[in-house]
C-alpha cells in the first residue's frame, strides 16, 4: 500500500544540478528505513521556475522542497517520511507554490495562481506512467470523441473554440484543419516540436512533463481530419523529451490508445517520432516537411500550402505542440469553456518562457490578454535588482522590441499586431536599463546569420551585411552611413525574403530603431550610452 509519493524534478537542468544523485540518496535512505513498499519515488518534469532546481515534492501533503542536495534528500526521508515532520527550512521559496503545483493551505493566496490548461499536468504527474496520466483525465477526450462524436463534430468544436496556433503566427487551428478535410486522399498530422526559437522552451516542458497529452491531441486531430498517421518532428537536442515520447507511444499502443482500432472503434492512428539535426529553419513548417522527408531543410514555395500538399505531397496539418496540447481539454470541456478564458479574439491561455532581468525566470501560463506589465510584476517578481524596465522582446529572436509605452497592451495575437508588435512563440526577454539595444540587435543578428538557410538572396547576404553594419557600430567604427545602410538592408530584407526567417530577422532592428533611434545614433559617434559595447571601452582608453 503506497502511502506517499516523492517526485524529483528530472528535467535536464535539474539533472545537471545533481537530481540523479539526490534521487539515489532518497532511494537509499528509503530502503534503509524499509519503506520501499509504502513510498513511491519517481521523476517529474518540473514545469516552473528554474532557479530552485532540483526540487522534491511530496504527496499527498503537497510539500515542495528545493533546491535539494543529496544530503538534504536523505534528511527529508528521515524527517518527513519516517518521522512525519515537515522541514521548514528546506521549503522552496513561496513564489514557486503557484497554481496547481502545490496545494498547501495557508500558502495559497500568498502567490498568484496561474491559469493552467496546457501545463496542468506537467509537474504533477509522472510522465513515464500512462496510468498516472489516465487518472488525471487523460485519454478521456479521445474516448469521448471516438464514442460520442463524429469527426465533423470534433472539427466544429475546435473551430468554435477559436483556438489559434501557438507556434507563432496565430493561424486559426480549426480553419487549418478544415482546409485539410476538404482535400481528397491520404492525410497526415505533423506536430512541430522543433522549438528552436532562442529563449523558448515551453514545448519541451509539455513534451517532457506530459507526453501523453500530445499523443492524445494528435490522435484527436487525426480523427477530425481523417488521417491515420502522425509524425512528431522534435528538436534534435531534446533527447529526454524524445525518450519520453517514445516510451509514451509504446505505453499507449499497449493499451490500444494508439494503433489499430483504438478503443475498439473504427479509427486507427499511429505516431512516429523524428528528430531534427539542429537547424532553426526546420521549425518553419515547409522546411520541416522537407527535412522529415529526408531532404535538405529549406522552405518550399507556397502555394501549395501544406494543407494541400504537405508531407509526401499529401494534405497535412502542421501544428505546434502547445496548440495541440489545448485540443484534449477543448474536446473534453467544450468550446464555450475554452472561450471563457482569454480574450474575445484570442481565447485560452498562453505559455510564456520568461528570461532576462526579472527576479523569477521560467515558465508562466496565463490567460490571453494578460499585459506584459502584469506578467513581469506578478509572475516575474518584478525587475531584478530594482532596475528600470527598458524594453522587452516578445516571440523569441525574431520578435519585436517592446518599449515601456506598450507594457499595458493586452497580450494576444491581434492586439499585439495592432500595436506593431508580435506575440510570437511566447518567449519574453525582459531587458533592464543597462541593456544596449545595439548590442542586443548584434547578438540576435549573429543568430540569424548562422541560421539562415541560404536559399534566398536577401536573407543569406542581408543578414551577413546587417551583422557587419552592427559590428561596426558596436566597435565604434560605424558612421551615419552604416546606420542608413543598416536601415535600408533591414527594410528590404524584410520585404524581399522568401520565408519567415528572413522576413523576421530584421524586425529587432526595425522596431529597435523605431523606439531607440537615439541610441543607434550615439553609436555612430562612437558612444555606447549603456557602456556595454566595445566602443565604450575604447572611449575610456582614449580619455
Amino acid at each position: 500500500m503506497i502511502r506517499a509519493r516523492v517526485l524529483i524534478s528530472g528535467d535536464p537542468l535539474s539533472l545537471s544540478r545533481g537530481a540523479e544523485k539526490t534521487k539515489l540518496a532518497i532511494e537509499a535512505e528509503i530502503s534503509y528505513y524499509g519503506l520501499e513498499d509504502e513510498i513511491q519515488v519517481s521523476y517529474l518534469t518540473h514545469a516552473d521556475r528554474t532557479d530552485i532546481l532540483p526540487i522534491v515534492m511530496i504527496y499527498p501533503e503537497g510539500v515542495t522542497y528545493g533546491p535539494v542536495t543529496p544530503e538534504d534528500g536523505a534528511y527529508i526521508v528521515q524527517e518527513h517520511l519516517y518521522k512525519g515532520r515537515v522541514i521548514e527550512h528546506l521549503f522552496a521559496p513561496p513564489e514557486v507554490l503557484t497554481g496547481d503545483i502545490a496545494h498547501i493551505p495557508g500558502r495559497k493566496g500568498a502567490t498568484y495562481a496561474q491559469k493552467r490548461i496546457v501545463l496542468r499536468r506537467a509537474g504533477v504527474i509522472n510522465p513515464l506512467d500512462i496510468e498516472d496520466y489516465i487518472t488525471h483525465d487523460g485519454y478521456f477526450a479521445l474516448a469521448k470523441a471516438l464514442e460520442e462524436m463524429q469527426p465533423e463534430e470534433v472539427l466544429e468544436t475546435v473551430k468554435a473554440s477559436k483556438l489559434q496556433g501557438r507556434g507563432g503566427a496565430g493561424f486559426p487551428t480549426g480553419l487549418k484543419w478544415s482546409f485539410v478535410v476538404q482535400q481528397p486522399g491520404e492525410k497526415y498530422v505533423v506536430c512541430n516540436a522543433d522549438e528552436s526559437e532562442p529563449g523558448t522552451f515551453k514545448d519541451r516542458l509539455i513534451l517532457e512533463g506530459d507526453p501523453h497529452a500530445l499523443l492524445e491531441a494528435m490522435a484527436l486531430a487525426g480523427y477530425a481530419i481523417g488521417a491515420h498517421e502522425g509524425w512528431i518532428y522534435i528538436r534534435g537536442e531534446y533527447a529526454l523529451a524524445k525518450e519520453r515520447l517514445n516510451k509514451a507511444i509504446q505505453q499507449a499502443k499497449e493499451l490500444n490508445l494508439l494503433g489499430d482500432h483504438i478503443l475498439g472503434s473504427d479509427f486507427s492512428f499511429d505516431i512516429h517520432v523524428h528528430a531534427g539535426a539542429g537547424a532553426y529553419i526546420c521549425g518553419e513548417e515547409t522546411a520541416l516537411l522537407e527535412s522529415l522527408e529526408g531532404k535538405r531543410g529549406i522552405p518550399r514555395i507556397r502555394p501549395p500550402y501544406p494543407t494541400v500538399a504537405g508531407f509526401r505531397g499529401k494534405p497535412t496539418v502542421v501544428n505546434n505542440v502547445e496548440t495541440l496540447a489545448n485540443i484534449p481539454p477543448i474536446i473534453q470541456n467544450g468550446a464555450d469553456w475554452f472561450r471563457s478564458m482569454g480574450t474575445e479574439r484570442s481565447p485560452g491561455t498562453k505559455v510564456y518562457t520568461m528570461l532576462g532581468d526579472v527576479n523569477i525566470t521560467g515558465l508562466v501560463e496565463t490567460p490571453m490578454g494578460t499585459t506584459l506589465r502584469e506578467i513581469i510584476n506578478i509572475y516575474g517578481g518584478g525587475m531584478k535588482d530594482g532596475k528600470a524596465f527598458k524594453c522587452a522582446q516578445t516571440g523569441g529572436a525574431s520578435g519585436s522590441i517592446i518599449p515601456p509605452e506598450l507594457l499595458d497592451v493586452p497580450m494576444d495575437f491581434a492586439s499585439m499586431a495592432e500595436s506593431g508588435a508580435a506575440l510570437g512563440s511566447g518567449a519574453l526577454l525582459i531587458a533592464g536599463e543597462d541593456t544596449c539595444i545595439v548590442d542586443l540587435a548584434y547578438v540576435l543578428l549573429r543568430f540569424f546569420k548562422a541560421e539562415s538557410c541560404g536559399k534566398c538572396t536577401p536573407c543569406r547576404i542581408g543578414t551577413a551585411q546587417m551583422l557587419e553594419a552592427l559590428e561596426r557600430l558596436r566597435m565604434g567604427y560605424g558612421t551615419q552611413v552604416d546606420l542608413d545602410r543598416l536601415e535600408e538592408i533591414a527594410h528590404y530584407t524584410k520585404e524581399a525574403s522568401f520565408c519567415g526567417l528572413g522576413q523576421a530577422a530584421p524586425v529587432p532592428i526595425i522596431t529597435g530603431l523605431r523606439y531607440f533611434r537615439e541610441e543607434f545614433e550615439a553609436h555612430t559617434r562612437g558612444e555606447c550610452p549603456t557602456g556595454v559595447c566595445p566602443c565604450s571601452v575604447k572611449q575610456k582608453v582614449k580619455h
Binding site: A279, I281, R296, I301, P303, K449, A450, E451, S452, C453, G454, K455, C456, T457, P458, C459, R460, I461, G462, T463, A464, Q465, E468, R485, E488, I489, Y492, E495, A496, S497, F498
Partner: protein, 566 residues
Amino acid sequence: MSKVQLTIDGKSVEAESGQTILEVAQATSVDIPILCHHPALSEWGACRMCLVQVEGMRGLQTACTCPVTDGMKVSTETEEIANIRKFILELLFSERNHYCMYCQMSGDCELQDLAYRYGLDHWTYPRPFERMEIDASRKYFIMDHNRCILCTRCIRACSEVAANHTLNLRERGADSMIMADLNVPFGESTCIECGTCLQVCPTGALIDARSAYGGREKDVEHTQTTCMQCSVGCQLDVVTRYSRLLRVDGVWDAAPSNGLLCVDGRFKPLYDKRQRVTQPLVRKDNKLVETSWEEALKVVAGKLKDSKPQGLALAGTTNEALAAFVKLFEKAGGEAGRLEPLAPELDYGEPAQLKDILESDYIIVAGAAPLEYQRVVGYFIKRMADKGVPVALIGETVEGLQTQATLVLSYEEAGKAAEAAMSAKHPVIVYSVGLKAAAIEALKSLGDKARILALDPAHNSNGAQNAGLKPMAVNGADTLYFLLGEQSEDEALVAQLNGQFTIVQASYKSPLVERADVVLPTPLWYEREGHITNVEGQTLPLNAVLPMPASVRDDAEVLKVLKELI
C-alpha cells in the same frame, strides 16, 4: 485550361489559368528580370529578382511561381520593386568576387546584364568576401566558386534534367557552397560530364575550358545541327568564331532531347585527337600516297566495273550517302549491306518517341544498355525512375540502371515484367540487339498499348534501314568497298581481309584505312549537309557549321559521281 483576363502594367492580357505571371509577361514582351528561374527547370523562387506587386495580395510575389488568376492586377516595375532589385544585385555583388573585367562571362553574364539594367555603377555594400577555391578537376569545364550566386540552376539541371544528382549545397546561409557528391572534387565525383549544369549557369561560375575567353555572344555564330554520335539525334547549337569550333550547347525547344546532351555529343567531338584523312590516297608500290580525286575515282570506278564488288557501310553517315551507296551497288551489280547488327523487329506495339518515355508509367529495358550507348535515353529513363515510375531490366547486357530498377530479370523471366506492366496505361519497351526470342514472345502480352523504342547500335540505323541495307559480313567478293564516315571499324574486320582490293571512304586514319588500296576522305559531323533518321524514325537535318577542306568531298556526292563513272 480556362482563360483568364488580367492586367500587367496596365495592359490587359489574356492567359491560360495555371500559367505563372512570368510566363504571361514573357509572352506579352514584359521583361521581368530573373536569375534563378530557368524555363527547363523547376521553379525555385529564391533569387527574388522577379518580385512583382499584385493588387490585393500581401507582400510582393515572385512572378516565376505565382499563378495568374482572373482579374489580377500586376505591376512589374514600381519604384519599390526597382529598389528591391537593385538591393538584391548589390547584395550579390557584395557576396563574392564579381570583378567583371577578369571574368570570361563578362558581356554574356545574366547577373552583369541586370546590373547594367538597374544602374549599378559602383558597389555600395562592404565586400567581406573570402577568396574561394577553383575546381578544375573535371576535364571539360571548371567551377569557380568566386563567381557563383547560389542560384542552384546547376543543381536542378543535374537532378531534374540529367537525373544524375551529383550536385547539392553544403553548409547553410552565408556559408552555402555548391558541392559534388559529399564534397569531393568534381573530377572525382559521380559527374558524367553531360554539361547540362554548365549550360544553365547564368554567371561565370561554370567555365567551359575550351570556349572561355574565346568570344562573347556578339562575336560568335550559332548553327543548329543534329548530333551524329549515336542514334538519338539530339539537336546541337554549335558555337563558332573565326572558323573555330568553340562550344556545343543543347537546344531547349527541340526534340528529341530538348536541351539535354551527353558527353559524347557536347564535349568529346571537340577534343577528337584522331588523325584526319584530308586527301584521296591510292596504294602505289605498296605505299599509300596522296593523289587527285580524278585518279582516285578512276581507280575505284575501274575496280567496281571489272571485278565482283561488295559494299559494306557503317551506318554513321547521311541518308543521302546511304541511298547513293545502295544505288551504286545496284548498278555495279554487287551486294551492299551494313556492318552493324540490327535489333530484332517486334510485330506488336507502336513506335515510340523519346517524349513517350517522359509520359510512361512503366519502363522495360530489354537487352539494351542505353546509359552507355544512347545515353540521353538512359537519362530519360532515370528521370522517370526518380518520379517513381517502375523500371524493369531484362537480360544480361543491361548496365548502369540497376540502382533505379524495380525488377532485374533474365530473358527467361521476361514474363514477370510483362505481368508487372500489365496494369500500366503507357508502358514503354526500350530494347536493342540483345533481345532474345523468348523475351519477345513474353512481352507480346502487352500488345499494342506498348510503345517500342529499338536502340540499334548503328548511329543512323533507320537511315540504313530505309535505304534497304541489311546486316552483312564480308563475302567472297574481289573488291570491298567500306563506307565508314567518321566512325571506327570493328577491329576484327581488318583480320578478315584477305588480299581483296579494298576501298575505304572515311574521315579518320585507322587500321582499315592503313590496309586500304584507295582511301576517299569524307567530311566531319560539323561539315556535313544532309539528313539522318533517328531512333524515333524522325528525319533530322544536318547543317554545315564550318566548310569542309577543299580536298574533302561529301560521301553522297562521291557515290553519285562513281555511279555515273561505271
